[in-house]
């Protein structure tokens, strides 16, 4: 009995440093945000219920930002997952120059965001490379980042930056699938498509979940690139939730900011929860 208490104290002691960090930097601010979201302002502290949330929901900028963010994630995340899986499966096949391809797809990870933005600017600026190519073909230039194409360009940027890492994760997962199972399915007469759906897909499901969540988080982070490319007020297609938050923060409207942040956290939690449930079903029995 005494020993168990002693062990408890010890294990708590080992947990303490990271627990302290998480408390100071995540849990405490989160509680603070909940408080902010429910008061009229942080100084007078009058409880106003859900008024801030209603304000946020009725805010046009928020609606536009939420819609843009949802659209961006809905396009970019499935693409990032599917394309990186496809790449991983292609590189899994015996092709010459495999390791060079791998390095090629990984290299964007090594480039700092500022440099990536610079490259993108050189390409898509009004006076950029793409427009001069078009001009030489007699096509009038387009201000890409201020056009409807800007959304597509940012999706491309996102994919270029994220495919490599996702691909490595998928390659690791693919190599962990028991070879004998694939061979058994092969002998059993399953086509390549069936082998993928019936066997590989099951074993990939934990990685699929992980890569999807990672891509989702990264898709929220794409703000950084857009901000560096276009500043505080980009083309209305590119006005994301983080722009909204950033600008609200600039206006020192903490209540609105906190309410928006809570809504976003809630939506993220729901999406990730659904993903976990789905993975639990597909990946059941497969994980050791």
């Amino acid at each position: 009995m005494k020993r168990r208490i002693k062990e408890r104290i010890f294990s708590f002691g080992y947990l303490l440093p990271s627990l302290a960090g998480v408390t100071v930097f995540f849990i405490a601010p989160f509680i603070q945000i909940i408080r902010y979201a429910l008061v009229d302002n942080p100084v007078s502290n009058n409880f106003v219920g859900f008024e801030n949330f209603i304000r946020v929901f009725n805010n046009n900028a928020f609606r536009r930002a939420a819609a843009n963010t949802a659209r961006f994630s809905a396009i970019a995340v499935p693409l990032a997952v599917a394309l990186s899986l496809l790449l991983a499966m292609m590189l899994e096949a015996k092709i010459p120059g495999k390791s060079k391809f791998r390095t090629f797809f990984l290299s964007p990870m090594m480039v700092p965001v500022a440099s990536i933005v610079l490259i993108w600017q050189v390409l898509f600026d009004y006076n950029g490379a793409l427009n001069s190519v078009l001009a030489s073909l007699g096509i009038s230039p387009v201000d890409w980042m201020k056009s409807d194409y800007s959304h597509v360009i940012v999706v491309l940027l996102f994919l270029w930056k994220n495919l490599g890492y996702n691909m490595i994760l998928f390659m690791a997962a693919l190599s962990n699938i028991p070879k004998a199972l694939i061979e058994a399915a092969n002998v059993d007469g399953a086509s390549a498509f069936r082998r993928f759906w019936q066997i590989k897909f099951r074993f990939l499901s934990p990685t699929l979940l992980f890569v999807t969540i990672l891509s989702l988080i990264n898709s929220f982070k794409v703000f950084r690139e857009i901000y560096l490319l276009t500043g505080n007020y980009p083309h209305e297609n590119l006005y994301l939730l983080q722009h909204f938050m950033n600008n609200t923060f600039g206006n020192i409207d903490y209540q609105k900011l906190s309410a928006a942040a809570l809504i976003m956290a809630l939506v993220m939690a729901i999406i990730i929860g659904i993903l976990f449930l789905a993975e639990g079903r597909i990946g059941r029995d497969v994980e050791q």
Partner: protein, 379 residues
């Protein structure tokens, strides 16, 4: 149902490793052939090439009359049982067994009938609704066999299917697979590194080493007439005793002198070699081989028919039999197998009587057998 012919089959892996080299074998329809050899000898590669899971670098493989070199595994109508069983973890036993039939477009009613019939045969009906993780090793093994059987394949390929089972279960399954082979009347090719499995299961045994076939024979013939020291040492437990000696001749006839100073003389009367062969060996150094059960612990023996002056260094009592590690003058050390009660105690002096007609003589350089079944020369 089909026989299999392998002609000059070669497998060279990228990097130049010759895993299988010039493999020639004809397997009759309904035959049970065991490929056996140490790990890395190429036996599994041969099996996988027959299955189509491994490309063939050179040569031809026929199943029945069909050249299958470039056929996909599913077109070959073979079934394979894997060492790891390779059951699909997310499917029930029933679905595991029905999978191949479904892939082949067999109708649901027939699928069901065949799965149930096979399950009945293997006594696994009660497991049909379970998933693989809820099965024991032995049960998984049966399901893996069942999954292969439902398809009624032309050929069964079994890749070390029993090596993950414990000893008792292994012995049971050994007998069961042999029975199954009789019942199914299909060609079985079985890969193992376990010589007991090879001896007890195969109609014929193929012994391989370093990508080559060393000998193809019935278990009994492999045991009695090994073609070289490798085969002689590989089959049999405890393994055959080897000792170097010189073949000499005097008035009494031809004999072998063993021991560092030629202390021991074995008359070569009755060995499986012609007089010419033996005469040709006179004056040459050879490797002599004697199986543990072809010697007996005695006190005193006829001249030229054994070894004297030894003692029992280690005595292993196994119940029905006893293994005695005998140290003899001249640096010889032999294992002798005796049946029944402990014939000698540790440290006790002993002599060994030899059944000289069971003596094997091998070329000291090539290891090839000089003695053989026709009473003359290696085959």
């Amino acid at each position: 149902m089909a026989g299999i012919t392998l002609k000059e089959v070669t497998k060279i892996y990228p990097g130049g490793v010759r895993a299988v080299d010039g493999f020639e074998l004809e397997i009759a329809d309904r035959e049970f052939v065991v490929l056996v050899g140490p790990s890395g000898c190429g036996k599994s590669t041969v099996l996988r090439m027959i299955a189509g899971l491994e490309d063939i670098t050179g040569g031809q493989i026929h199943i029945g009359d069909t050249l299958v070199n470039s056929m996909a595994p599913k077109e070959r109508n073979i079934a394979m049982v894997f060492q790891s069983y390779a059951l699909y973890p997310h499917m029930t036993v029933y679905k595991n067994m029905a999978f191949a039939l479904k892939m082949r477009g067999v109708k649901k009613a027939e699928r069901d009938a065949r799965v149930r019939e096979t399950a009945e045969m293997l006594d696994i009906t009660r497991l049909l609704a379970r998933k693989p993780r809820a099965l024991s090793g032995g049960e998984s093994q049966r399901v893996a066999l069942g999954r292969a059987m439902v398809r009624h394949p032309d050929v069964f390929l079994l890749d070390e299917p029993l090596s993950n089972l414990d000893a008792k279960l292994r012995a049971d399954m050994r007998a069961e697979i042999v029975k199954l082979h009789k019942k199914l009347e299909t060609t079985f090719i079985y890969v193992t590194h376990d010589q007991t499995e090879a001896m007890t299961m195969g109609d014929r045994i193929v012994i391989m080493n370093a990508g080559h076939i060393l000998q193809v024979d019935s278990p009994k013939d492999i045991y009695d007439y090994p073609v070289d020291t490798f085969v002689a040492g590989f089959i049999g437990s405890p393994r055959m005793n080897f000792a170097e000696g010189v073949i000499e001749k005097d008035v009494g006839g031809i004999f072998a002198a063993l021991g560092s100073n030629g202390e021991h003389r074995l008359a070569l009367e009755g060995v499986n070699a012609t007089a010419e062969t033996l005469t040709g060996l006179v004056g040459r150094r050879v490797t002599l081989g004697l199986r543990p059960e072809h010697m007996r612990v005695v006190s005193g023996h006829a001249p030229g028919a054994g070894f004297s002056g030894g003692f029992a260094d280690i005595v292993e009592v196994l119940g029905a039999e006893t293994n005695i590690y005998a140290d003899l003058p001249g640096g010889l050390r032999f294992i002798v197998r005796e049946w029944g009660d402990e014939p000698v105690r540790r440290g006790q002096a002993l002599d060994l009587a030899v059944q000289t007609e069971k003596l094997h003589i091998f070329d000291i350089e090539t290891g090839a057998a000089v003695t053989g079944r026709i009473g003359g020369g290696a085959r």
